[in-house]
């Protein structure tokens, strides 16, 4: 019974895991690479969805809508970075402020609290209409996007600029004495991260057929859970492993969740279960009196 449930949940978990994997990838850049606890995510995810939904309703081609969603997400992330680096607002608070502001922004963009996309043509519509099981083209599409962005991220983090960004999170003092403006690195990194998150929001809204102002709630915790699961499998020794951990972790997280739902977990308790998962993962090392599990974070 468990096995057949597992098999039946794999396609839907793959679809969602890969689509939400970009959120986890964004969180890797902030929490892991920059050591910056960015909470903008809960606002930039629905921002991406809102931008693409509104533009599609206005008759704009979906690809262009997605590009705009990425740009809006990038700018939102930059704002959080500027709040922290220029106005010296605590990094957690800066993210919370942007997340709150974005709630109003998203309502403004959509003009109402949700937009239906089921009856209009989205980027995914041609894939849905193929004469095969819808899972095959959809999963293939999300696979290409998630891993494409993963490889681009890996490449970027091995350029001169990428080195400077990684060093900013690792040892800010050191890279500043080598002549890098760490404030700019923080702003840029937050921008890229939230660009990924907004892209995820834009794709997810087209996949599920609607954009809702509340669809970002708990996104940061779900993303963290994904990363923690992935890192348990792949470790975090290299950049490639960290980004791989984000995507695979996101898939396994969705698998656990959909399996839980099939076995009787009430959908209302979903976020509580996710929170408990993160608390357990972060808390166990402390209970075992190990030092390792601690998050190294800046600006808090």
């Amino acid at each position: 019974m468990l096995l057949s449930s597992l098999l039946r949940t794999i396609p839907i978990s793959l679809e969602q895991g890969l689509a939400y994997g970009l959120v986890a990838l964004g969180i890797v850049i902030t929490f892991r690479i920059l050591a910056f606890p960015d909470l903008t995510v809960d606002g930039s995810f629905p921002l991406g969805a809102a931008v693409v939904a509104r533009l599609i309703m206005e008759g704009v081609p979906p690809v262009f809508g997605i590009l705009m969603a990425i740009i809006f997400g990038f700018l939102a992330g930059c704002c959080t970075g500027l709040l922290n680096t220029k106005l010296k607002i605590n990094s957690l608070l800066a993210g919370i402020l942007m997340m709150t502001i974005l709630y109003s922004v998203n309502l403004r963009i959509m003009g109402r609290s949700n937009i239906q996309l089921l009856t209009v043509n989205t980027l995914l519509t041609p894939l849905e209409n193929l004469d095969i099981n819808r899972f095959i083209p959809i999963i293939a599409f999300f696979f290409l996007v998630a891993f494409g962005i993963k490889f681009l991220t890996d490449m970027f983090l091995h350029t001169q600029l990428g080195f400077a960004m990684r060093a900013t999170g690792d040892n800010e003092q050191m890279i500043r004495t080598l002549g890098v403006n760490t404030d700019n690195m923080t702003v840029l990194g937050l921008g890229i991260s939230n660009g990924f998150v907004a892209l995820s929001g834009a794709l997810v809204s087209q996949d599920q057929g609607f954009s809702d102002v509340g669809m970002g709630i708990g996104m940061i915790v779900a993303g963290l859970a994904s990363i923690i699961i992935g890192e348990a499998l792949f470790g975090k020794k290299t950049v490639q492993r960290m980004t791989l951990a984000a995507i695979v972790g996101s898939f396994i997280y969705k698998l656990i969740i959909s399996l839980g739902l099939r076995l009787g977990l009430a959908p209302t308790d979903l976020k509580m279960a996710t929170g408990a998962m993160v608390i357990l993962a972060l808390g166990i090392p402390a209970l075992k009196k190990e030092k390792e599990g601690k998050l190294h974070l800046r600006g808090v």
């Binding site: 060093a167 050191m174 080598l178 002549g179």
Partner: protein
Amino acid sequence: MVRLENITKIFSKGTIDEKVAIDGITLHIRKGDFITIIGSNGAGKTTVLNLTSGTFAPDGGDIFIDNSRVTRLPEHRRAKYLGRIFQDPLMGTAASMTIEENLAMADLRGQSRGLRWGIKKTRRDHYREILKTLDLGLETRLKDNVSLLSGGQRQSLTLLMVTLSLPKLLLLDEHTAALDPKTAETVMRLTQKIVSENNLTTVMVTHNMQQAIKYGNRMIMLHEGKIRFDVQGKEKSALTVEEVVKRFGAELKDEALLC
């Protein structure tokens, strides 16, 4: 070459905790100088380095590098002139990055960074070559994370990183104080070698009188934010610990300094 003119620095200005850390110091560093700075806790040694490198700006006075005023220039924009090594051996390298990645970052000191690959294949042989001179076996571990190295190894690597793109002025901030005596000795020998081979202008802050007397061509003693004693050339090389203790022992009152 580097001039500090009548510098003052006051911490917690205007509060009950106000402390004058630097009280009107003027210091001219000439090209090729190796200056050691000594003083007891709170004398202002590290503050002088922080002001020179731009960690914070002074409350009064001016700082010049090669006759251009850098008093208010932020730290990252002075990087092409200055190299700095800290007391904490973990401060000079990025632990989660590999040895070659750290070296490659040092290669670009003070230059703009773009979207080219962080590591040039052609530089790798050079990295291996210079790592060999450390005699720590690091030349075979280019792709190891720096977190795997010991404190002494990391401090040696930091010194090596300085040589990749030579700064006009090297600032050493008690860079051997956190190491065990034997490692400290090794790192100090390496420092001496790198400084003399590259004819680096150097300022070394130290807590250790013997070290301050043994190395360099000029020694400066700070006391309560002022230069108390400034000795160079022949007079410096003839200096002994006993003599300094006899002259200043009463006011130094710092056992650690005198050993």
